[in-house]
């Protein structure tokens, strides 16, 4: 869409890390190929998802307007970017922020992108990512280049891949952590990004780190791979050792699973290789055909944790040594060190408040809810509470200024959709509060009742059933009102809302959780939320809540009030909400809410959802893209070969025969390597090795032979390989490109003949 899109590549040349620049070039070429019909829809969808470019509601080209279903006649017509996903339909761009760590420049870039490609809002997710909505697919390469120039990637932010590696935002400054997990989380993120062993999953894979077992900040219990920092004393040497308690197979979704203990103590040097071995076992044994059972939690459930552990240990033994296992950790330990900008100052609250003209009570509330002491005396962390995880472009720039003024740009996003400033000198708190307050970022209540977590729901998600954000906005208003109970135990509860059962809002681990469902009443669909009570946020999402009853959306505020009142009235001394729910029991809780399960007679407002005046319908739901279809590494490899050949053809058109000939040869090698990898996943990039393996596995066996032409096409590769390094003329490179096309076509035919062997 943007006229300037082609200009960014040149503008940012040399300013992007080379591997990211190349990655974006590839994606841009894939966009071109898809537009020309040379890349099939399924492949493009998965490659798009693996760059974080996700579909959005109504992208099938139709939308209910409350009266009728409208067909959305986009200019690109029927061109698609995935199954039932029209090219021009706005999409969501997810941006990976490993461990949530950002600097001021990155905040400013996020602001620019939100303004220029999205709707002026950047959204922090429950996995420390950023998301931009209403983005056109044609804008994504420019957007990605601007991110890459700020050292941010969107690669593998969606799709069947290793997602953002999350980590406690207080790592390194927390008062009761075992040790700082930051360098380990960063090393794992770098190691697994684009790793060949992570390219053939049936579904996504989410790792998380926590510095302790007792708090919630890492949520390791609900992750595919959870790592909790641990110290122990070596009995032989008497020395203290660092390591990780490793958990696997956690996950929310419709049926939540608690992660299982894989190993009580994994030393740092084993962290990356064990993760790699787990990835290999998941890729090899995980479900591929039924995506509803393709997460690693199902594999572990099916074979048992003992068998899974055994498979991983066996795999670990045969892993080829990789020096990056320790190098990346050593590098990260140097790279991810933080220091304060200002000296530590310890002042009393009274002194602080005296500096706040007119802000006294609000400041006091903010101090209590939004700041916490660091383990470094005289410093605190400050949580910037973002309503529904949203922040404007102007606020991002102001926050960048604030981060520079008060810290050394030590900023992290949180899984509660907020932003934390670290290393704030306590003496600066009054001035910092003023600065935040001036730009609307000084709200109190971080991590409290008012700080409601919500997924996008029906606002933008194709799977949304009810308006989670609409409900969250309404509840924020209501619990902020003076008439709502000020009881501290209630104010400390967590509300989390998902638009459907897939749990992106993490409702299972909230005190008061809600997920979208629909019910038919008097022949009409009515938006509802299932009430889920008593989940445990602490202890890294220690236990999951109890579904109680489904209630119409418009009655949910009453549900919150009524439960809060009952809790205040009936709780025993010191009883937390989770225990109150267990003691009260589902039957009583359901009875308490029973009269709210039906809309009042004649009240038509119940037939529309919060913040959306249209008559409610399920007709706008689409097919989820949380993971794309499973695309095998062979499919990806052959698509990459085609792209390389396309680039060679462009070089030929530009009058660069050497580049064209070399590209055609490399395209054949890529296709051959993809075939070899079906049986031999560890094949490297050495051309001799690829050609030899291809010869042995596909030529000698005649598996590659065409029914009519025999081994003719394979010989194109062998000839090109023999002549590699020679110079190409315009003519010879053109011949070679033709041969490469035939070789790739033959590779596709071979892939089809391999049939189930390839996709198994």
């Amino acid at each position: 869409m943007k006229v300037s899109n082609p200009l960014w590549k040149e503008k940012l040349a040399g300013k992007m890390p080379e591997h990211l620049a190349r990655e974006i070039d590839i994606f841009e070429t894939e966009i071109t190929l898809r537009k020309q019909g040379k890349l099939e829809e399924k492949l493009f969808a998965e490659t798009r998802l693996r760059r974080g470019a996700y579909g959005q509601r109504y992208d099938n080209g139709q939308r209910s307007d409350g009266q009728k279903v409208q067909k959305l006649n986009f200019p690109s017509g029927d061109l698609t970017k995935g199954l039932n996903t029209l090219w021009d339909a706005p999409g969501m761009q997810r941006i990976k922020i490993p461990g949530g760590g950002l600097n001021a420049e990155q905040l400013e870039v996020m602001a620019e992108l939100a303004e220029e490609y999205s709707d002026g809002i950047a959204h922090v997710t429950t996995r420390q990512d950023f998301q931009l909505h209403y983005v056109h697919i044609d804008d994504t390469p420019a957007l990605m280049r601007r991110l890459a120039a700020a050292n941010i990637t969107t690669r593998e932010a969606c799709g069947n891949s290793v997602r953002n590696v999350t980590a406690c935002p207080y790592a390194g400054v927390c008062t009761d952590e075992a040790f700082d997990v930051t360098p380990y989380s960063q090393a794992l993120a770098k190691f697994l990004l684009g790793h060949p062993d992570c390219q053939n999953f049936g579904r996504k894979f989410k790792p998380a780190f926590s510095g302790c077992a007792q708090h919630a900040c890492g949520l390791t219990g609900l992750h595919d791979l959870g790592l909790i920092a641990k110290k122990r004393t070596n009995e032989a040497t008497g020395r203290e050792e660092l390591g990780f308690e490793m958990y696997v197979g956690g996950g929310l979704g419709a049926v939540p699973y608690q992660a299982k203990l894989f190993d009580e103590f994994v030393p740092p040097e084993e962290l990356l290789p064990l993760a790699q071995a787990i990835a290999r076992v998941f890729a090899r044994h995980g479900e591929k055909k039924n995506r509803n059972r393709a997460r690693i939690k199902f594999l572990i459930q099916d074979i048992g944790i003992e068998k899974f552990r055994e498979l991983v240990r066996e795999e670990r033994k045969i892993l080829p040594f990789d020096p990056r296992w320790t190098e990346y950790i050593a590098e990260a330990q140097t790279q991810f060190t933080e220091a304060p900008l200002k000296p530590a100052v310890d002042v009393t609250e009274l002194v602080l408040i005296s500096g706040l003209n007119g802000h006294g009570p609000e400041f006091q509330k903010w101090l209590q809810s939004n700041t916490r002491p660091q383990r470094q005396p005289g410093f605190v962390t400050v949580t910037v509470a973002l309503p529904l995880g949203d922040i404007t472009a102007n606020q991002l720039r102001s926050l960048a200024d604030i981060a520079r003024r008060f810290t050394r740009e030590t900023v992290r996003t949180t899984v509660e959709q907020n932003i934390v400033l670290r290393w704030v000198s306590k003496g600066d708190l009054a001035e910092l509060y003023k600065a935040l307050h001036a730009v609307g970022l000084g709200d109190a209540g971080a991590g409290a009742l008012v700080d409601i977590t919500s997924c996008p729901g029906t606002d933008t998600c194709k799977l949304g059933i009810s308006s989670s954000r609409g409900l969250a906005a309404e509840l924020r208003k209501r619990v902020s009102e003076k008439s709502f109970t000020s009881d501290q135990a209630v104010q400390n509860l967590h509300i989390k809302i998902s638009g459907c059962f897939n749990s992106c809002g993490q409702h299972h681990v909230a005190d008061l959780g809600f997920y979208g469902v629909s019910r038919k009443i008097a022949g009409y669909a009515v938006p509802h939320f299932q009430v889920v009570l008593g989940g445990q946020w602490e202890r890294n999402a220690g236990s999951y809540g109890l579904p109680v009853v489904a209630v119409p959306s418009k009655n949910i505020p009453k549900v919150v009030s009524r439960l809060a009142e009952r809790y205040v009235a009936d709780r025993k001394t010191g009883e937390i909400f989770k225990d109150f729910v267990v003691r009260t029991g589902k039957a009583q809780l359901k009875a308490l809410l029973e009269d709210l399960t039906k809309p009042p007679a004649g009240d038509r407002s119940f037939f529309s959802d919060w913040g959306d005046p249209r008559e409610y319908t399920l007709g706008d739901m689409g097919e989820g893209e949380c993971a794309g279809e499973v695309v095998s590494p062979l499919d990806f490899g052959l698509a990459a070969a085609e792209r390389e050949l396309f680039e060679a053809q462009l070089a030929h058109e530009r009058g660069e025969p050497q580049r064209a000939g070399g590209g055609a040869y490399r395209a054949m090698l890529t296709a051959a390597k993809a075939l070899v990898q079906v049986e031999h996943s560890d094949i490297g990039n050495d051309p001799d090795q690829i050609v030899n393996e291809f010869h042995a596995r596909y030529y000698d066996t005649q598996l590659f032979f065409d029914p009519f032409a025999g081994g003719k096409f394979a010989n194109y590769l062998f000839d090109a390989h023999r002549k590699a390094g020679q110079s190409y003329t315009s003519e010879s490179s053109r011949y070679l490109m033709d041969e490469a096309q035939l070789f790739i076509d033959a590779a596709y035919s071979c892939s089809n003949r391999l049939g189930t062997l390839v996709t198994a």
């Binding site: 006229v3 509601r57 404007t392 609307g440 005046p613």
Partner: protein, 212 residues
């Protein structure tokens, strides 16, 4: 990033222009009703752009407010910098000269503002004085917010404003923060009706096409 792209500002083709018409007595406007109005615009597809959805960001401080998302352009009741107004954000390319593009964007904003003003669901509480207008270039590579861009933009802008306001004096103030979009706040010396501004644009178009 800005320095390397300055040369592009010379002889620049303005695209992705935004125009914002500020509201009079903004506190009187019922924003819940605006949500309903925007949904009805989608139902009837009243604009020349393909209208898609409504996004409500009233929960953020001085944010984009309520946005009517379209394919070629978005319309919003925008509250950036605490100034509530109707904003037209052109996303798709526009043909013609810079003057043509400025005219297209202002015209689209004025027509939408007139439509809001006339909507009975807003109870006569949505009014524009026609006096306060902001223009943004929503593309930092086309128009980085630096002095060189302003030097190039200002003469063209003044020519355009001459056709919009006629003989009426006006003042312009460019946004000074280089990190923000290249933007200008325009204030005419007195209020103007939306219809008179539209008429001025139409007259200017006719003149430029040589129609008497």
């Amino acid at each position: 990033m800005m320095q390397g792209i300055l040369e592009e500002a010379i002889g620049l083709e303005l695209q992705h222009i935004n125009a914002k018409l500020l509201l009079e007595n903004p506190e009187q406007l019922d924003l819940d009703a605006v949500v309903n109005v925007f949904h009805s615009w989608i139902q009837d597809q009243v604009c020349e752009e393909l209208l898609l959805d409504v996004a409500d960001y009233r929960h953020v401080h001085q944010g984009p407010g309520i946005i009517l998302i379209g394919h070629e352009a978005d319309y919003s009741i925008d509250n950036a910098d605490g100034l509530l107004g109707l904003r037209y954000n052109r996303k798709a390319r526009l043909e013609g000269s810079n003057h043509d593009r400025l005219a297209h964007v202002i015209r689209a904003a004025l027509i939408a503002a007139e439509r809001l003003q006339a909507d009975t669901r807003l109870n006569g509480k949505c009014n524009f004085n026609g006096q306060d207008i902001q223009i943004f270039i929503n593309d930092r590579v086309i128009a980085p917010n630096v002095a060189e861009t302003r030097q190039v933009v200002e003469p063209e802008l003044r020519t355009f404003l001459g056709s919009l306001f006629g003989e009426l004096p006006y003042s312009i103030n460019f946004e000074p923060d280089a990190r923000r979009l290249c933007a200008v706040s325009i204030k005419a010396s007195q209020p103007l009706t939306l219809s008179s501004l539209l008429a001025n644009l139409e007259a200017s178009k006719r003149t430029s096409h040589g129609i008497a």
